[in-house]
C-alpha cells in the first residue's frame, strides 16, 4: 500500500523484499501485514500462492517501503524473526532492493548467452553485479575484458576436474551469491552443486519431444520437430532436471538447416536465460521441491 502523500520521500534504499515459505494455515497474511503496518512499513507489492493438499504450503513475496531500512535492517529483521517467523516456523529471507546479487558467469566457447547478460547489465536492465566471468577456455577473454568485466580462465580436463572445482571455489571465496551457467559445457560435481543449492542457474535446449544425448539439434532436425525451445533451471545433482524457472519456444520448418536451428535456439536461450536471471535477482523465484513458484510480472 503506497501512501502517496509520502511517496516522494522514499528512495531506493528504503525498499525491501520478504520471501516467505511455511506450512499453510489461517492467519498468516494477517500476521505478516499487521507486523509491517505496526513497524511503519508500507506494502507496495504482494504476491501469494498456496499449494493444495496434502502438503499445503504457503508462499509469499512482498515488497515494502520503510524509511531508513538500510540502517534499521538488523533490528527490523530480528523483530520479524521473533514476532512472526518463529510462530509459523517460516523459511524466510529479507533482501534490500539495492543489494544486487554478486554473480559469477560461467561460459565455454559459445558467447551468445553471456553477451546478452553483459549487455543488459551494462544498460542497467539486469540488477546483478557481475563479479567475474569464468571459462574453461581462454577464447572470450578479450570480449569480456573489453566490456570492463573480470575474466578468469580455469582449464578443465579429465584429470584435473577436482582441482579445477577447488580453484573455482577458492576464487569465489564465499563472496558470490549467484552462479550462472551461460552455456558452460562442463558437468559440476554433486559436492560443488550442494554448496550453491538453488543458486546455480543453467540454460539448455528443449524440444518437443525432448532429446537427450549428443547433438540434439541434429536429432531435432531428423525428427522434423516443428518447435524448438530452451529451458532455464536451477542446477541439482541430477543433470538438467532441476526446478524449471522459464521456458520458451520458436516455430521452425523443414526449410531450416541444422545450423539455422541452432541459431534460432541460441536466440531463445538468450531470452529465456535473461528472464530467469532477472526474476532470480528480484527474488521472484521460490523453489518448492522439484518445481518453482515464479511471481513474475
Amino acid at each position: 500500500m503506497i501512501d502517496n502523500s509520502k511517496t516522494e520521500q522514499y528512495g531506493p534504499s528504503d525498499v525491501g523484499r520478504f520471501v516467505i515459505c511455511c506450512a499453510d494455515r489461517p492467519g498468516i497474511i494477517s500476521t505478516v501485514a499487521t507486523f509491517l503496518h505496526h513497524e511503519g512499513a508500507n506494502i507496495i507489492d504482494f504476491d501469494q500462492h498456496s499449494s493444495g493438499a496434502p502438503e499445503g504450503k504457503f508462499f509469499l513475496r512482498l515488497e515494502f517501503q520503510l524509511k531508513g531500512l538500510v540502517e534499521r535492517e538488523k533490528v527490523f529483521s530480528e523483530a520479524f524473526a521473533e514476532k512472526v517467523a518463529a510462530a509459523h516456523d517460516m523459511q524466510w529471507t529479507l533482501t534490500l532492493a539495492v543489494d544486487k546479487p554478486r554473480t559469477a558467469i560461467f561460459v565455454s566457447k559459445f558467447d551468445h548467452a553471456l553477451m546478452e547478460l553483459l549487455w543488459r547489465v551494462s544498460r542497467d536492465l539486469l540488477p546483478i553485479e557481475v563479479s567475474l566471468v569464468i571459462s574453461n577456455h581462454d577464447d572470450l577473454r578479450q570480449q569480456v575484458e573489453g566490456l570492463g568485466f573480470r575474466f578468469k580462465h580455469i582449464p578443465v580436463n579429465a584429470s584435473n576436474k577436482a582441482e579445477a572445482e577447488q580453484e573455482t571455489i577458492n576464487l569465489l571465496n564465499g563472496e558470490v551469491d549467484l552462479l550462472v551457467l551461460a552455456r558452460y559445457m562442463q558437468i559440476l560435481s554433486a559436492d560443488f552443486v550442494d554448496q550453491f543449492s538453488n543458486r546455480i542457474i543453467n540454460i539448455h535446449h528443449s524440444f518437443l519431444p525432448a532429446f537427450a544425448g549428443a547433438d540434439p539439434y541434429r536429432q531435432a532436425c531428423e525428427q522434423g520437430v516443428k518447435l524448438i525451445g530452451a529451458t532455464s533451471h536451477y542446477v541439482t545433482a541430477e543433470l538438467d532436471q532441476g526446478p524449471i524457472i522459464e521456458q520458451d519456444v520458436v516455430r521452425v520448418s523443414h526449410r531450416l538447416s541444422i545450423e539455422e536451428l541452432k541459431q534460432l535456439g541460441n536466440e531463445v536461450e538468450r531470452k529465456v536465460l535473461s528472464k530467469a536471471v532477472l526474476w532470480h535477482a528480484e527474488n521472484r523465484v521460490i523453489v518448492d521441491g522439484n518445481k518453482t513458484i515464479v511471481f513474475n510480472k
Copy 2:
C-alpha cells in the same frame, strides 16, 4: 491460507470472493486480512495491485473459505461494510463462488464465438448461466435450441432501434448480470450501455496497425500485415474503445486469401472472448478508468 487439516470440510458453497478498490494507503491488507481471520475465514487466493502516483489506487481480489457462507452472507457482509469498507471508503463486492452470472449472449449471423461459448458452458468449463441468446436474425435458432438454450429473435432496423432496445430491456427484466456480444453487428445506444456499465463484453478484430471502417480483413490483406488479432473489451459509449480485457494474435502470410484471414481471425476471436468471459465470471477483471486490472492465472 488453507487450513489443510480441515480442507475436507469445505464445499463449493463455502467459498466467497472479495473484489476491493480504494485509495491506496498504509494498513489496508492488514485490516482486511485481520477481519477475515477474526471471522474464521481462510484466505485461499490473494491478488493485489497498486497503481502508482498520482492517483494511487489499491486493487484487491481474494478468495476465502468460510463455513456456512451462504447462510451467513448477509451478516458477514454487513460486518465487512461496517468494520472495514467504511473506514477506507472502499468500492467492493462480495460474490459467492457458486453464484454464476446470469448471462444473455447477443449474436447476429456468425456463429463461431457463440458456439464456442455454448460448448464450454455445456462442459462446465465456463461458469456462467446462459439465460438466453438474443439475435437480430432468426438464423441460429435451431442450433441454439438444439443445444437446449433459449433463443429470442428481436429484429432491428433503422426505424425500430429504440423499440428493439426497449424490448430487449424488458426481456432481460433486471434478471441478467452479464451481456456478451458474440459478434452482434448492431450498435447499442449510449442509454442502453449506461444501464449495464462494465457488464457488456464485446469481441472485435484487431490489427497491427489497426484498421477502422468497413471490411477490415480486406484492408489488412491489402496492407500485407503479418499478424491478425482480436480484442475483447467492455462496451462503453465510445464504440470499440472500452477497457480491454484480453487480446491475442496469430501469424499470417501473403499466401492467405481474405477468406482465410477471416477464418483465422474467427479462431482468435473464439479464444479471446472465451477467456474474457471466464475471467469476468470469476471476478478477475477490475475496471480502472479506461483500462483493466486482470488477475488471471
Copy 3:
C-alpha cells in the same frame, strides 16, 4: 501461373494437385513445368523443397488448373506417368481438389478434439468427408448422431482386441482414405497400422521436457513446466513416435491446477489436430522417412 483473362472459366472441378518425391537431380522442375504447359494446364501454386546431401531428395507440391480435368484425369495421368514420372523414378500422386478424403474418426470418451473436427466439417472449413465415427465406448453416440454423422460402437477389451480390429477393417471396407485418432485411447496393432501407412493421424500431449507414462499432466504439474503442448503425427508401429505434422504450446503458471492444465492442453489439441488434418486433406504433408515436409500457408 494464372491466366487471368481466363480465370473466370475455371471451376473447382478443374483444379488438381501433384505431390512428387524423387531423387534430386537437374532438370526436374523444367520437365514437370513444361509437361503441364504443353498439356494446357496452368500452375497456380508451387512449393518445392530439396533435402541436402547425402540423400538428396526432391519434394514438390503444385496446384494447377486444367479445363475438364475430371473427364481427362485418366488420360492426363497416364501421360504424366509415361512422359515425366518414369524417367525420374518418381513417387507421385495426382488428386482432384474436389475429392475430399473419406475419413473415419476414432474417439474414446474425451470429445473436445472430435467436436472441433465435426464443427469445422459442418461449416465447410475442413475439406474431409466424415464417413463415420468409431468409438470403443457408446458415450458420444447422441452427440455425433445429433450432428448428422454416423456412429459405430466397437468395444475393445483385453480379450477381443484382434476381433475388434478385424471388425473395424471390415467396417472401413477399403472405402476410407484417412483415419483420425481424436483422443482414441486404444493402441492399434502393427498389422493394422501397416494397412494404413501414413494415413492415420494421432494427437497427443507434449511437454518440455516430455513425459512418458501415465498421468502426464500430473507429472508436468509436479515438475513445474512453464509450457504445455500438443503434437499431431502419423501413427507408426512405434507408439507416439511417428512423423510429426504439427505442434504448438501454451504458457502456464504455478497457479494452475492439474485439471486446468488438462483443459488448456485440450485447447491446444483441438487447434493442432485441426491443422494437421487440414494440411493432410489438402495434400500439403509429405512423409520423408521419420519426418514430414509440410507445405503449409
Copy 4:
C-alpha cells in the same frame, strides 16, 4: 535440384538468386526452369506466389548453382534478359549470394537495435556489409568504433535539415545498397526517400490498437493493452505506412510500468528488425504496391 553427385564441386561463389515479378500467365515456370537447365544451372530453392485477380501478378524467387557464376555473370545475365525476361516483360534482379548489400545504419540515441545488428554482423549471422553508422548525435561513437565499425556524426536541426541530407547523400556516394533506420528519430524528406525506394528499412512500435502521436508507450499503458509489438517496414513518403516486412508482439500485464513496457518493446524491436534486414539481405522480400511478399523460411 541438387545434383548430389556434384555437390562437392560447388562453392559459395557459384550460387545466384533470381527475383522475378511479372504479369501472371501460363508457361512462366516452364520457361524459366528450362532456361536454367539448358544453361547448366541447378535450382536449389524455388518459391513462387501468384496474386489473385484482377491484377494477377507472378512472383518468383529462386536460388541456383552454376559453376563459375562470378565470371559468367554478365553473359548469363544478358542471355536471361534476351531469352526469358523480354518475352514476359519481367521486372527481375540477379544477385550473387556472395555479394552482401553494403549497408548504412542510421541511429539516434537508443542503441538496442543497432547493437543487435552489429552483434549479428560480427558473428556472421547477418549477411550485410556495414559501410558506416550515421547518427544525428555523437553519443554512440565509442561503442560503434570499439566494435570496429565506421561512425559518422551528422547533426540535424530545424535549420540545416536539407544540408544534412545532402551531406548524407554525399557520404553514401552511390556506394550503399541498403539503409537501415535502427531507431533514427529524424524524418527523411520525400526526395531522400525517393532516391532509395524500397531500400530503406525502418522499425517502429506497434500496438493493438495502434497509437499515433507522442509517447505511445504511455498511451498503451493508460489504455491497458495486453500486447505490445513492433513493425519493420520499407520507408515511403507516407510516414510509418510503408510496406510491412515483419511484425511481432509480446504479452504484457497491468503490473508493468511504462519503462518496463518500453524495455519489452525494445526487445521485440531487436528481433523484428534483425529478421527484416536478414530477409532483405537474402532477397526474400518483394514489394508489391503497398505490401510485401516475404519468402522466408
